[in-house]
């Protein structure tokens, strides 16, 4: 495919014609079978091509203090972290967790772990101790890099983590460290200019991201260094990053968007990215865009809807004229939000669809392509996507008929396994298709339209919460006899967690008990998993064999037909 002209986007058909992932391999200077390391591709390679002095990371905290790191800083500081991890006795293939807020050490540590051959396991820093333990235990994690403010959670579970040899506290100055803990101050550490980067290959494990399912423990989607091929090209074509752009991705690297498109995508493209380590505040966000002249913004529907609530007038108080391209991910972007963004920013948000397992955007609205507000767009070239029948798993030819979103495996960033869970991995495939777990239709123009999830997983603000995890945490509460967690519609977050609870004898419903249950789940799992509503009931709907039937409760919340209830126990 010819190099893209600056002001003329290729048509969808032009993008498809003769597509080959080798386009990206050539641009990355990589040949299949030769050594490949994402850490090197995102830092040393950019320096070698002469962009070492270019800003890679403009980081700002909630006070407004900022620091800028060049690509040469990325190279040297990730070397420094990699060398330190090796000195601590950590080696290739070991799982090394990053459990931090969006501080520079998180981004630099991500590259550092990859450079020394470790498998990097980023986890959302708001996770409570149960969520943290489940994921560290499953992965057999050898080391964790964290901050003083989060180390308390690690301390409470470390005795149950025999594989966890090292707890590295990156801001330990003045803190009393305990067993297995090591203080690490990147600013004081001697710089390592040369580090022998681990010579991985396309299939060498790189990143382990956990995602929730309907049943059982969260599953660790294991990715490989070769994923950079897909992340590089989708960033370039879908997010439309160009050499002079300043890019802002709202996602936290504890989630896959924050690594695929908050680290690997932009930096493998040699792009400058800005990071704001602060919670949501509309004025603050607009001021950030204005201050750093952000040109490309990758956000999420929940954030966009929160901005909508603040109104167009607020957006117009700021100079947001630098914005050139807007994209969104996490859950379906409603048509109103697309139309509103045109009013507020003079640009429409382009919806993109993908998930932890796919590693890269798979269905999308490309820049220059006519947007149908509310549609997910069309498949990325090189991705064979279909809507399949839920029984035969054959593609549905009839336009507009609802089926399951299915992808033919084989693109570079597809997960290679669920960690320790071959059965769970195998269950994701039917008739040669990978099933995303979502229902959709395809229209006459080939655009995909999201209909809903095909399981009980709750998509809240773009993050998946497993009902089983919530119910397990609830059982730890002394008052709870049984519970069922379901998705409840929410105007901002699309869905939130609602739980139905039966109480043990001696306990009665009260506001105090409701608050206590909320806080237990928030602290044990995460704020995302905390029930936003609790309904105390006398009994839960069950099958005659005693299994709780969530679908009945969910249907009531959504005002949908309850369906066949002939197999349920009588009240």
């Amino acid at each position: 495919m010819p190099e893209l002209a600056v002001h003329r986007y290729p048509t969808y058909e032009e993008r498809l014609a003769g597509f080959d992932w080798a386009i990206a391999e050539r641009e990355l200077g990589h040949r299949r079978g030769e050594p490949l390391n994402i850490g090197w591709s995102c830092s040393d390679r950019i320096c070698e091509r002469g962009d070492g002095a270019k800003p890679a990371l403009i980081w700002e905290d909630f006070h407004g203090s900022s620091r800028t790191f060049t690509f040469d800083d990325l190279r040297v500081l990730s070397n420094t972290i990699a060398a330190s991890l090796v000195r601590l006795g950590l080696g290739p293939g070991e799982r090394i967790c990053l459990f931090m807020d969006r501080i520079p050490e998180l981004y630099l540590g991500f590259l550092g772990v990859l450079k020394m051959g470790g498998i990097v396991q980023p986890l959302f820093s708001a996770f409570g101790e149960d969520s943290l333990w489940t994921r560290l235990d499953d992965a057999g994690t050898a080391a964790i890099l964290t901050q003083r403010k989060h180390v308390g959670k690690v301390r409470r579970i470390r005795e149950r983590l025999p594989n966890l040899r090292r707890i590295v506290v990156v801001d330990a100055a003045g803190a009393a460290l305990q067993e297995r803990e090591i203080g690490f101050d990147l600013d004081r550490e001697p710089r390592v200019d040369r580090f022998e980067v681990y010579p991985g290959g396309d299939e060498t494990p790189s990143v382990l991201h956990y995602t929730s399912g309907t049943t059982g423990r969260p599953k660790g989607a294991q990715h490989v260094h070769g994923s950079v091929v897909a992340q590089y090209l989708t960033t370039k074509w879908v997010l439309d990053l160009r050499p002079d752009d300043v890019y802002w991705c709202n996602a936290d690297p504890g989630w896959v968007t924050g690594t695929s498109y908050g680290i690997i995508g932009p930096w493998s493209n040699g792009a400058t990215q800005a990071v704001l380590d602060a919670g949501f505040n509309a004025e603050r966000w607009y001021a950030f865009i204005q201050k750093h002249r952000v040109t490309v913004w990758y956000s999420a529907p929940t954030a966009i809807r929160l901005l909508m609530r603040e109104g167009t007038a607020l957006a117009r108080r700021f100079d947001l004229g630098s914005l050139r391209h807007l994209a969104s991910v996490g859950e379906p972007l409603n048509p109103e939000a697309v139309v509103w963004s045109q009013e507020a920013f003079g640009r429409m948000f382009h919806d993109t669809f993908w998930q932890t397992e796919t590693g890269c955007i798979v269905i999308t609205n490309f820049p220059g392509m006519p947007i149908k507000p509310g549609s997910m767009g069309r498949p990325f070239p090189g991705i064979a996507a279909a809507v399949v029948d839920p029984h035969s798993f054959e593609p549905i030819a009839e336009r507009g008929r609802v089926g399951l979103i299915a992808l033919k495996p084989g693109w570079p960033s597809m997960m290679r396994a669920y960690w320790n869970n071959p059965d769970g991995y195998a269950a994701k495939f039917r008739n040669g298709w990978y099933l995303c777990g979502d229902r959709a239709t395809i229209d006459a123009d080939g655009y995909f339209w999201f209909v809903g999830r095909d399981d009980d997983v709750i998509n809240t603000a773009g993050h998946l919460v497993g009902p089983f995890e919530v119910e397990s945490a609830l059982l730890e509460h002394p008052a709870v006899a049984e519970s069922a967690a379901v998705a409840k519609p929410d105007p901002v977050n699309m869905e939130v967690v609602k739980v139905f609870v039966t109480l043990k004898k001696g306990f009665a419903p009260s506001d105090e008990l409701e608050l206590d249950i909320m806080n237990v789940v928030r602290k044990r799992l995460s704020p995302l998993a905390m029930p936003q509503e609790i309904e105390f009931v006398d009994a839960l709907p069950k099958t005659r064999s005693g299994k709780i039937v969530r679908r009945v409760l969910r249907a009531r919340e959504w005002g949908e037909p309850v369906g066949d209830v002939s197999t349920l126990m009588d009240d």
Partner: protein, 87 residues
């Protein structure tokens, strides 16, 4: 710091700061933008206030900005209490 603000501040410190997190919370410390309370946890803080002060805070008023500092929250509670008193 008056009683209302002290109650809110103490609850935030007890419920939302981790062990080892030694940040000082004053009446102007940013809670939402500072990452101490997120938009999901805000719901539990709202429930606490409603229970403690026997009020109902309208969802439309429970914005991230209204919950961003102890001072803002105290003003919100006082406003809702005053509104309830007039009703």
């Amino acid at each position: 710091m008056d009683d209302l603000k002290r109650v809110i501040r103490d609850y935030v410190v007890k419920e939302y700061l981790e062990e080892g997190d030694d940040r000082e919370v004053t009446e102007t410390t940013p809670l939402i933008t500072g990452g101490i309370v997120d938009s999901f946890s805000m719901v539990s803080l709202k429930r606490f206030l409603e229970r403690k002060y026997s009020i109902r805070i309208p969802d439309a008023e429970a914005t991230p900005a209204a919950f961003d500092t102890v001072q803002n929250i105290a003003e919100l509670v006082a406003r809702v209490q005053a509104g309830a008193g007039r009703a």
